[in-house]
Subunit: 194 residues, 2 copies
DNA sequence: TGTGTTTTCGAACGCTCGTTCTATAATGGC
DNA sequence: GCCATTATAGAACGAGCGTTCGAAAACACA
């Protein structure tokens, strides 16, 4: 009943994600976004509303992909400990091998989003909460199968793992040195053994 | 030999720090800064150069104060373990009690500063390196006095403590819940005991 | 084949940005 | 008391920002 869109939504959102990920919200201009997405600014406004709405869309898309990937990673492994260990080791390795030092879009957004109202912080906090739950289930599984220490509650272990992961994500952007990242992963997993 | 400055440098830099801390570099305009600092924009340019130079000045001033505070905190305590424990507990408590959710200026700067050249990232990385050294010395002290486990090297423990602290700082801005912060501090210290 | 709807395009809107200019005010050394 | 020097004040600069507009283009359905 009307003229159809000419662009591929996946490619366009990937391009927007890339720019926001590298530069953050404030430093990404609509014109830069349009150039990378292969659209005019008017098309962006027609399709997504305004800059904040596009950012929200990008954030939520990234968050759901990232959470899915973490969930499947933490569900693998013969034991809870193995899942945690391979999760952190592969996170450290992937971080060290990433040349752009982009870190994690959610963490970047969480630290930038002081002024832009509470909506973005809410998204970030929700992702962190779900991550904490994933870690909790994995730690509890490890305590049941005997691979994870019972000296701390599964709740506290989950909190610690969340904090450690966020620390890794900070270092991914600021000091992505293999020895540093691997050391964190190594010490974390080693200290969690019974 | 010339007209003297009318403003108090400490108060003026404190005000600039506060705005950068809350909003980040990009979202802090020179006019906002001038208003908070009680100066005209021309005075800022006369005294500090340009916006980047002012930011660098603020960053370095904050970094040296923060590092000094961490160093003196980690030097206290009857044992290495006590120093680490009180350091993380008071960090968690202070974070939970801070209503503005500003987090840490250095961490915020490190995650925002992708575009602004390598100079800011260098400052951030240096602070993290010095923090790692402080943690290392404290962990080594604890291993000597028997309060800290020898199951991991002091190097890896220092890396882990750096990562955990950065994670706490991320959560300070995004999810400053007392139970979460205290749980991280509690688990970290508990797992480091011999 | 026309009609209605939506997308695209490029130019334009008003605003704020970082920065600079001009003029004036305030000092210390002669 | 004058002069060189520096700080202040406020207006102004060009550039870029987020956003919108009017017209042209492309489809679905009658």
């Amino acid at each position: 009943m009307a003229r159809p869109r000419e662009f591929d939504e996946t490619a366009v959102l990937d391009a927007a994600t890339d720019l926001f990920w590298n530069r953050g919200f404030e430093a990404s201009s609509i014109r830069d976004l349009a150039a990378r997405m292969g659209l005019t600014t008017a098309s962006i406004y027609n399709a997504y509303g305004d800059k904040r709405a596009l950012y929200k869309r990008v954030l939520e898309r990234y968050a759901s992909a990232a959470l899915g990937s973490c969930a499947s990673g933490l569900a693998c492994g013969a034991s809870g400990m193995e899942a945690i260990e391979s999760f952190f080791l592969s996170l450290a390795n992937a971080t060290a091998a990433e040349p752009e030092r982009k870190g994690c879009l959610i963490v970047n957004a969480g630290l930038e989003s002081a002024p832009h109202d509470a909506q973005f912080k809410q998204i970030v906090a929700d992702v962190f909460r779900q991550l904490e739950t994933l870690f909790h289930d994995c730690a509890a599984r490890g305590q049941i199968d005997g691979s994870v220490t019972r000296s701390q509650s599964a709740e506290d272990i989950a909190r610690l793992l969340l904090g450690t992961m966020l620390g890794l994500r900070v270092l991914a952007r600021t000091r992505p040195e293999p020895a540093l990242l691997a050391g964190i992963a190594r010490a974390t997993t080693a200290l969690l053994r019974p």
